[in-house]
Symmetry: C2
Subunit: 336 residues, 2 copies
C-alpha cells in the first residue's frame, strides 16, 4: 500500500515485496523453464495480478532475452490480397501477445538498411512476405533472425527459414483444370517474371496439367502484377488471327485489367469468346461487373500457421525449419 513505487510503474521488486519473496524468484516465475515451488509461484502470481505487473520489455531485451516484437517485412500494400493477409496476420499475432512491427521494403537497398533494427530489437521472429526478388531478400533476412518465416513466397528450397505458403503449383493446376473442363482448346497464360517465385509456381502447375492433356499454351510474361499490366498483356495476346479462347492470369488484379481489355476494348464476350481465371480472390474479383472465377488463397490458414510456428518456437526453443503447403480452392463464378 504505502510502498513507494518508482514512477507509477509496477516492477518485479514491487511484486517481490508484496509476495514476501526475493525479486529473482519473481523473475523465475515469469521464465519458461525455471524451477519454483508451487506454493510461492501462486503467491507471486497473485501479487502480480493484484498490482497489475507486466515485465518490462525494454529491460528484458537489454538483459539479453528476446522481445515480443515480430518484424514483418513487406512490400507495397497495393495488392488487396497482401493487405488482407497482413490484416489477418496482425490479428493472430496480437492474440498471442506478439507485437507486429512493420518494415516496408520497396527496394533491395531498403532491405539492407533495415538489418540493424532487426538485431537491435532482438525480435522473436521475422516474417518476410509480399516482396520481390523473393529468394534473395528472404535469404538475406533468414540469416539474421532466429526464427525466420517466409510467408506465401512459394517453396524456396535454399532458404534457411520456416516456409509457409499456399501451394501455388496446385493452384495453377486447378486453374488449368477449370479451363480444360470448359473445353478450352487454345489456353494462354499471363504471368510475372521468374524472380517472383510464386508466379512461376502457378505457371508451372498450369502448364503441367496442360502438358498432361496434350494441350499447347501461349505464355506472356509481364514485369508487374498490376491492372495495367494485365490490360496491356491481353491486348498483345489477342492481337492476331487465332487468339486464345481461355486465359489464366497470375493474379486477380491482372485479370481485372484483362477483362476490361477483352470486353471493352476488344468487344469480346466472357466466357463465350474467351474464358478467364484469376488468382487470389480479392474483393474486386467478386464485383458484380466482373464476377471472375479465381483461385482463392487460404488467407486465414496462412496467417494462423505462421503464428503457430512462432508459438512452437517459443515453447520448444527449437526452430522448426519446415515447409508448410496450404491448399488453395477454385472459386467458380461467371468467367468459366
Amino acid at each position: 500500500m504505502g510502498k513507494k513505487i518508482s514512477g507509477n510503474r509496477v516492477t518485479a521488486d514491487d511484486v517481490a515485496r508484496v509476495a514476501g519473496v526475493s525479486r529473482s524468484l519473481v523473475s523465475r516465475t515469469f521464465t519458461k523453464g525455471a524451477s519454483v515451488s508451487e506454493k510461492r509461484r501462486k503467491l507471486v502470481l497473485e501479487a502480480a495480478r493484484k498490482l497489475g505487473y507486466e515485465p518490462n520489455i525494454a529491460a528484458r531485451v537489454l538483459a539479453g532475452k528476446a522481445s515480443n516484437v515480430v518484424g514483418i517485412l513487406i512490400g507495397p500494400l497495393l495488392n488487396p490480397f497482401l493487405a488482407d493477409l497482413l490484416d489477418k496476420l496482425s490479428d493472430r499475432l496480437r492474440d498471442e501477445g506478439f507485437l507486429p512491427t512493420l518494415f516496408k521494403v520497396s527496394t533491395e537497398g531498403d532491405a539492407k538498411s533495415i538489418l540493424p533494427f532487426i538485431s537491435q530489437y532482438n525480435m522473436v521472429s521475422t516474417i518476410v512476405m509480399g516482396i520481390s526478388p523473393s529468394a534473395r531478400v528472404s535469404r538475406m533476412f533468414a540469416s539474421q533472425s532466429e526464427m525466420p518465416i517466409v510467408l506465401n513466397l512459394g517453396v524456396l528450397r535454399d532458404v534457411e527459414a520456416a516456409i509457409v505458403t499456399t501451394d501455388h503449383f496446385s493452384g495453377g493446376m486447378l486453374a488449368a483444370q477449370a479451363l480444360l473442363d470448359r473445353g478450352a482448346e487454345r489456353p494462354a497464360l499471363v504471368t510475372r517474371e521468374v524472380e517472383t517465385g510464386i508466379y512461376e509456381e502457378r505457371a508451372a502447375g498450369f502448364r503441367h496439367v496442360l502438358d498432361q492433356a496434350g494441350v499447347a499454351c501461349t505464355q506472356l510474361v509481364v514485369a508487374e502484377g498490376s491492372y495495367e499490366a494485365g490490360h496491356a498483356a491481353t491486348l498483345t495476346l489477342m492481337d492476331g488471327a487465332h487468339g486464345p479462347d481461355a486465359v489464366f492470369f497470375g493474379n486477380d488484379m491482372m485479370a481485372l485489367g484483362g477483362m476490361d481489355a477483352l470486353r471493352r476494348d476488344l468487344g469480346l464476350a466472357v466466357p463465350d469468346d474467351v474464358a478467364v481465371v484469376g488468382y487470389d480472390d480479392i474483393p474486386g474479383a467478386a464485383l458484380g461487373a466482373y464476377r471472375i472465377s479465381t483461385i482463392r488463397q487460404p488467407v486465414d490458414k496462412l496467417a494462423a500457421k505462421a503464428v503457430s510456428v512462432i508459438v512452437d518456437f517459443e515453447t520448444t526453443g527449437a526452430a522448426d525449419l519446415t515447409t508448410s503447403l496450404i491448399s488453395p480452392e477454385f472459386i467458380s463464378r461467371e468467367t468459366t
Copy 2:
C-alpha cells in the same frame, strides 16, 4: 583494433575509447539539445562511423527516453484506401528513422488491452487512424501518448491531439456541386452512422451545398461502409415511384455496390438515369467497368503531414496540437 567488444555489438563505450573521450560525451553527442564542443563532436562522430555504432534502443528506453517506435492504431485493412494510407505512412516514417508498429483495433475492448504496450515502449508518438467510434477511441489514446496524432478521422474538437485530416466537409461540398452541375434535381445521400465522424462531415458538406441551392435531399444511413451495404442501400433508395436521379455514396466501396444495384439489378443507366459520385478514389473506382466519379483523398499529403508533426515534436520538444485540414479533389469520370 584489438579492443574487446562485448558480444560483437558496438557500444558507446567502444566509441568513447576510440575517440579518447568519456562515454557520457558520446551520449551527449547523440542527444538533441546537448552541449558538446565542435572539436570533440567531430571526433566522436568519426569514431562512431568507423565502428558502425548505433545507440541501443532498448537501453535508451530503459533509461527513460522515448524510443523511435511510432504506434499505429488501425482498424481492419479491408478498405483499400486505408491500406494505401498505411502504406504511404510507413514509407514516410521509415524515411525519418521511425519504426511503425501496428496495433490492429477491431473492438473498443481491443483498444483498452493495448494501452499497457503503449507505455511500455515509450513510443515517440501514437497515430490513430481508420477506427470507429473515432472520437471515443481517439480520446482514450490521446491521453496516453505525448504526441498523439489523429489521422484522417475528421475534425475532432474535444480530443487533445494533433489532428491531420482530409477536409471532408469540403469533400462533401465538391460532390454536391458536381451533381448539381449535372442538373440533378432529386439527389440522395448514402452515408454511415454518426459515430464515424468523417462520414458525417462529408454528409454535412453535401447537404450544405444542396441547402444553399434550395434542393431537397433523401438520406440513408447504413451501419457499414461495405460493398454489400451500398448495394442494399441503393435498392432501398430506388424502391418507389419517384427515386433519386443522383446519389452520393460516403465511400467508393459503397458506390461500387450501388453501381451494381443500379445497373445490374435495376437495369438503370448511369449517369443518364442516375448519376453517381463516390469518395476516396480507390483503385476499384477507376476500373473500366465502373469509372466512378469520386472525391480523391490526398493520401500522400496526409502521410507527409502526420510525419512532419512528429519530426517537429522531436526537434522542438513541444507538442503542437493543431488541426491540419487537407483539401480533397474532385475526379470526374463517367458517372456524372
